[in-house]
Symmetry: C2
Subunit: 451 residues, 2 copies
Amino acid sequence: MSDAFAALMAPRSVALVGASDDVSRIGGRPLRYLREAGFAGRVLPVNPRRESVQGLPAFPSIAALPETPDTAILALPAAATLQTVEECAARGVRSAVIFSAGFAETGLEGEYLQSRIIATAREAGMRLLGPNCLGVFNPGLGYYGTFSVILDTALITPGPVGIVSQSGAYGAHIAHLARQRGLGISQWITTGNEADIDVAEALDWVVRQPETRVVMAYAEGVRDRDLFLNALENARDLGKPIVFMKTGRSSVGAAAAASHTAALAGSDAVFDAVLRQYGVHRAATTAEQIDVAYACAAGRFPAGNRIGIFTMSGGFGIQLADDAEAAGLDVSPMPEDAQAELLDMLPFASPRNPVDATAQAVSDLNLLQRCVQLMMSRGEYDLFTAILGTGPASRTYADPLRKALMEALGEAGNSIRALTMSAPLRWCAATRPTGFWCSRMARHSPTRWAR
Amino acid sequence: MSDAFAALMAPRSVALVGASDDVSRIGGRPLRYLREAGFAGRVLPVNPRRESVQGLPAFPSIAALPETPDTAILALPAAATLQTVEECAARGVRSAVIFSAGFAETGLEGEYLQSRIIATAREAGMRLLGPNCLGVFNPGLGYYGTFSVILDTALITPGPVGIVSQSGAYGAHIAHLARQRGLGISQWITTGNEADIDVAEALDWVVRQPETRVVMAYAEGVRDRDLFLNALENARDLGKPIVFMKTGRSSVGAAAAASHTAALAGSDAVFDAVLRQYGVHRAATTAEQIDVAYACAAGRFPAGNRIGIFTMSGGFGIQLADDAEAAGLDVSPMPEDAQAELLDMLPFASPRNPVDATAQAVSDLNLLQRCVQLMMSRGEYDLFTAILGTGPASRTYADPLRKALMEALGEAGNSIRALTMSAPLRWCAATRPTGFWCSRMARHSPTRWAR
């Protein structure tokens, strides 16, 4: 399996069948992205009507290529796909990505076409991604086997988040949101109709890549139960959290899923129980999925559930304390002597926990720092959270506030990935309840830091 | 009561006691904001050490003012407050706003000071806001009796959202978030320690203002039960939704609330039941509070719960269908003949509901329009939702997409307030479950439209 994925995700050479000069077309985009990224492998455009495409020499067919590529990207209509797969099989191409829709998801005729394609590939030992998928990318290698429009704005920065999605549009959506949050991506795979490679197999591969620290996954259902359980087990053993969006819960959703990627959603309750068993975080919304992945991306997790909450306005602290307690976290008070010390410094403060340093700390950041340092050194907290209201949104105040906080947090600050949220998280867990709670915290404090 | 609020919220003249030349100080900010807003009333700075403040003639005391102001804003330390309240009472000032902390929330001594202040005011028939509050604003009149720093960036646009918050920082936070979402504010009142005016009374007044269509409220507890029930009843009778954030649910939160604004949180279960009884939406997070208020701000509400979901990628539609069904909405199918018509147009579409127009409609916006028009004219939906993935985030695609959608929606588009969300809402309800669901929808599709 590793070999097939190496061919698919890190090819030494790639054929683009249906290559186009028009960089806004499905056959033009992958080539444009590969060129922009400076992909080091060989790129072989296939187009019988052109001598060159986007400045690269083009070839009339797979058979006419000067070498056998590791992978072929098929940017072709459904009707032309079978013949090209047969050509790839005959040539010994090891893997192919099929973008086109119009297969099993459209009815009996498409199902038949898909079955012929997969039979051809199986016989030749060639692995297939799709059809009806948005392809793959592997930013660390500058490899973009996709026509996703999210790359129009910018290519993707390599980073700790793996993405595996049955739905191409959903996979692109969360990749875009991750990028907005400043998260880099390790590998991105969309599986579409899953005639061959499915979410389970892709998940297993992405989890095992050293760059990956956390995986966001999307599926409407799972085809191979054993492969899926195996992938979840591997992730758990490697300590890499998976944040899962599984749709098709409702009857109407399940019916829609069947006509989308021809997947059987299966029993949602069973799926839910499996995710729980393997410690997978099942996200209820996309925002939660991003938040939890974000919190996990630093790769550090709390040792316990004691949480210290810092604020400069009581209302925020109370809101977080309510939520933290509801999520099973331990909002335990500061030690008595530390409380006394805090009151010496800030006579109107609430020194227990949540610690409310009051508006006095807003205007005197030195007081803020001493207060946060006291919490860090004496509170014995496993998690630390500051909720700061509109402060981070202020053009003049955001920078001094951030600087003061980071200094006060010291070493712990190095693992904070959350400064685009309103509140810095010291450590966040993938497992419930802390992952869930981190997500809710972001919902309480949706202000972004001014730049 | 109206008279007192007229004096407080729409004063013909205002004294600012503790007025400062430094526009970054608590005594400088309100004056700066009033001047920037071109407030038409008379502004009377009081400062015994200056002849003028920020270019306006200053007076040494309340007694020395050339006229009796409708309201006095006290930007003074706690220790100087009682004497000034006595001076205001002697002069016949009708209302005062007290910014300073250091009263009932700090212990017995502060409680005593607060009780003397309130006794003085009561005897003179003067109404008080605070202490320990952030004041008020009334953007339609350019009246800013507050030192809130959120006005540093820009003053507030008048609009349909009233805000009443016990916590000043929380009130400022949601005002900032509302502004970010493009929502204007009718009136804004923060009540702090509520020595006199409480959330209930302020709520009742804001609800009855003609500019107000929806109110966001925050409280840790309620002092006057009857006033509160009366305000909720008035809001219900006027058809103006209230979106409430009530904190102090947990034991640790309730304890923190007591030390914050000296409020008794009371039984959360009782509070919750009361809100339900009056059809008030209790928000679980700040983001939900903003989303629901946003959805209500157009002042149009669905007649029923039949929802049509439009997408161009199946995964999104399924996600929304799951959530809509879980929220008690009716994801009812398109009529059979309309489905057939849709399939004639888009052979690979899912025509039931959610309607998935597939990537074909992405590249042909004319098809998108015909598809949406079909849903609008034939689906008999009470709510219409489009979930559009990364489309709205694309710099090149967002504008044509928005234009195509608005044209297709026709008249219904006029009531859409949600184009800064990823999905346009035709109508949204304040009442559960639709308000809640609108909020969740925003969580599924947190992309903002590119500009």
